[in-house]
């Protein structure tokens, strides 16, 4: 399956400071690089030999809002030369609540942004402090209100399993988030990544992860509470009011081709996923020097692509429609993993009914342990 990409991801690798748990591609406190970055981005966009008509555009980071209104408009002016969003395209911008103010929102509107993903993480002061975040709960409330007023679709991030956080804390956060009436919520469980300040402190015994029992309870609380509030749980970490799923992310999970630009950004042509070099400075140097900024290339055979499709498909709550899966991938799920699928069903981790195969809640919660057998 290929055809021209109809989705574009843009990575904006700047943040005010680096949060202790974060291992994303970004530079903190290096605003001096922004102009070079924009220049390099313009160069990389020239890879497209013809203008691209797109349904979704996603500016992620880092913190895209850290560019500020003026530079954001410059960026979009540049993008418009090659990227042509269709009418009702979904244009998402990730934003730090602190960056959301009247002029910025106005600029974003002028740029055509339709959706803002707010890096809210929590509405609890203590949790925000543990997470090393620079905003306060009120900043989230204010930003959310302002965006709603501007007619933007809002997605709020909620972080669970922060050190010291309890299930009650998470329940309280969920109430607070629901009360802000966002269109979309993403719930992320904190992970301890190599090389982060958190991980170093954990090894020294200065930070302690919550137990996996608590982790599970927090996640289940989110599923239950958001479900009660009318959100559909449509993928492991994502919840949306009807009609408000993130169409951009759905393109990923459908394995549709997409384009991507910026350091660490990954693009996909239906078979091969190409990831740019993860270092911002290396990426800038390579692009401006006229060199290939690729860092990693993941080329898949038809079968490998089908296996990957099975994994991302099963991470969606609706699971996969067996017939469609076969039409698109050329394989039936059972051709790929009959033994495993039967075992999951027997163990109550998956259900197959009326031509659909999906993971139960129990299955979803431990799904990473299932994939080794599939891939």
């Amino acid at each position: 399956m290929s055809g021209l990409p109809r989705s574009v991801y843009l990575h904006v690798p700047f943040c005010r400071h680096r949060c202790g748990y974060c291992d994303f591609t970004l530079v903190a406190g290096r605003d001096d690089l922004i102009d070079q970055y924009l220049e390099a981005l313009e160069r990389e966009l020239r890879r497209l030999t013809q203008p691209l008509e797109i349904d979704t555009l996603y500016l992620g980071g880092g913190t895209p809002s850290h560019l500020g209104g003026e530079r954001l408009e410059r960026l979009f002016a540049m993008l418009r030369q090659t990227l042509h969003p269709v009418e009702h395209a979904e244009i998402t911008l990730e934003a730090n609540p602190l960056d959301v103010n009247e002029p910025f929102v106005a600029a974003a509107r002028r740029c055509g942004v339709t959706r803002v993903s707010l890096g809210s993480q929590s509405l609890d002061v203590a949790t925000l402090r543990v997470l090393d975040r620079d905003h306060m709960p009120d900043d989230v409330r204010r930003a959310s209100g302002m965006l709603a007023e501007a007619g933007m679709s809002r997605s709020l991030d909620l972080m669970t399993a922060a050190p010291g956080q309890t299930v009650t804390d998470v329940e309280r956060d969920l109430e607070a988030i629901v009360s802000l009436e966002p269109e979309h919520v993403s719930v992320y469980c904190l992970t301890w990544e190599q090389g982060t300040a958190f991980e170093t402190q954990r090894r020294k015994g200065l930070l302690e992860p919550v137990t996996d029992l608590a982790e599970r309870a927090m996640f289940e609380a989110a599923i239950d509470r958001l479900g009660d509030a009318g959100f559909e749980h449509y993928e492991v970490s994502n919840f949306a009011r009807p009609g408000h799923r993130c169409r951009h992310n759905e393109a990923y999970w459908d394995l549709r081709p997409w384009e991507a630009f910026g350091p660490g950004a990954a693009r996909f042509d239906g078979r091969t996923r190409v990831t740019n070099h993860r270092s911002t400075t290396t990426w800038i140097k390579r692009v401006l020097g006229g060199h290939d900024p690729t860092g990693d290339r993941d080329a898949m055979s038809a079968e490998e692509a089908a296996r990957e499709r099975l994994v991302v498909g099963l991470r969606r709550r609706a699971g996969i429609t067996v017939a469609d899966f076969e039409t698109v991938s050329g394989f039936t799920p059972r051709q790929l993993a009959a033994k495993s699928i039967d075992r999951w069903i027997a163990d109550g981790l998956a259900v197959e009914e009326e031509g659909r195969l999906w993971l139960t809640r129990d299955g979803l919660l431990v799904s990473d342990s299932l994939w080794a057998d599939v891939l």
Binding site: S237, Y252, R273, E308, V366, D368, D373
Partner: protein, 603 residues
Amino acid sequence: MPFDCKHIRNFSIVAHIDHGKSTLADRLLEHTGTVEKRQLKEQMLDDMELERQRGITIKARAVRMEYRHKGELYELNLIDTPGHVDFQYEVSRSLACCEGAVLLVDAFQGVEAQTVANAYSAIAQDLTIVPVINKVDLTYARVDEVLEEMEQSLAIDPEEVIRASAKSGIGIEEVLEAIVERVPPPVGDPDKVLRAMVFDSLYDAYRGAITYIRILDGTVRKGQKIRFARQGTTHEVTELGQFVPQRRACEELRAGQVGYLVCNIKDVKQVHIGDTVTVPGDEAAEALPGYKPPQRMVYCGLYPSEGENFEELRDSLEKLAINDPSFEYSPESSDALGFGFRCGFLGLLHMEIIQQRLEKESDLDLVQTAPNVTYQVLTSSGETLEITNPQDVPDSGQIEEFRQPIVRTNFITPAEYIGPIMQLCTDRRGVYLKTEYLSPTRAMLCFDLPLAEVIYDLHDKLKSVTKGYGTMDYELQGYFPADLVRLDILVGGKKVDALSIICDRRDADRRGRAIVKKLRGEIDRHMFEVALQAAIGTRIIARETISALRKNVTAKCYGGDISRKKKLWAKQKEGKKRMKSIGSVDIPQKAFMAVLDTGQERT
């Protein structure tokens, strides 16, 4: 012109590991012009890939050199030997082909355990010893003290010791002179009936078996018929020659010489090390006494992780055994692991090497059980069973006597570590025999210890309590009764036969607790709770639980995330290949080694 016996010298180089045998061999090859300088590589006789990787000699190697002394030309046959205790039998075989032994002692390390062991083997075989202090170039060489140690421990006259450096070439001429002057020539008669000792064999893909021989009497010529006295087979010699150090064909080999025979033998099993080569017919010479077969010290189970690869594993083992007759294997089966092989090795290093080769040369994923020593059980019906696998221990009711192998272990150490070594050995139920001083500051301690206590980690522990200065050597004494039990491990309520061990009853509780604790760390969490138990018979002596997995799901799976995640999952999958499912519990390879945990922070 053929060399007569008077102009032949056969000698081995023996020493403790790393004292510089192979480097001295390099110098001798160079000095005698056997190998041109520009072709010379460091430790060039260590030409097996594994030897080069590990920087040690594994297999003894023979080389022929020519050396002119006082106007006369001599043929010198050198055998470089390994220093590691696992390969001790290679040394004794080599010594049997020689009249002399160059005994090397490191000028800094001094006399160490294998120095003593090898020197005694040479003395026991009536060889002339040419003592050499090597590495005198080292700035911290302590020549005088080492001379004293040699005198004290081996009664070597300091006057006779040659000071040399194999690295910088000091004393090489003296070593060669001493070999000619001190080592007696071989006594054979080239006109007598052929009688030669088979001291090694090797498999060559093109020529089949290559038989290494030392000729005691007679002459062997190309095209001649020969007979292996013990095996009783007759063959035609299609090629013969010497090592220079590569094989070089010649027309005949005569009494006193060392060389090789090629006889179109496809199956290396037809060549028995220690056999005698003679002529067919009535004239045939009597067989020589031969060698003691090598003693396998440890056994372990090797199983394909995919049951269907059993035959492939058999083929690979067979191929390996062709080149290494000291390793032995026989099929066995385990409830937990299916069909596999019980393999016997000379020691843990040997085991490691065989496994490494197996993995390199075949593409199999293997599950290995923890190594164990051999036990003997005298049953109530009066039968003696050799137990190489804990599974085979009969019910306690049928055991009259349970015996374990005991080794006499010599430690050589700076005197200040005598205390810690004593402690080490008493913790391991060693029986103290004696202490001898090699010099005011160095001592030799002698203990009888259960082999099982020696083989797994004693060497590492010794190195750590003596800051690396202590060395050890051991020799099997025999099997002696002990209060032993079989300890079983249950995973998820099922006994896993491949995890059973044999241990001293007094240690059973402690080891049982340690093993289940260790296993808890090795076995991943499952979707369900997994109970781990240690038991003697039906009595449970220790228990641990692995709680069920509650949550394991990647939160972010956007854009390029999946590529990164896939690498991780692929690694997990690789890990899973080495697992065995028992019931529905996946047990990783490492877990089978958990049973080696002694449960004691012993010194």
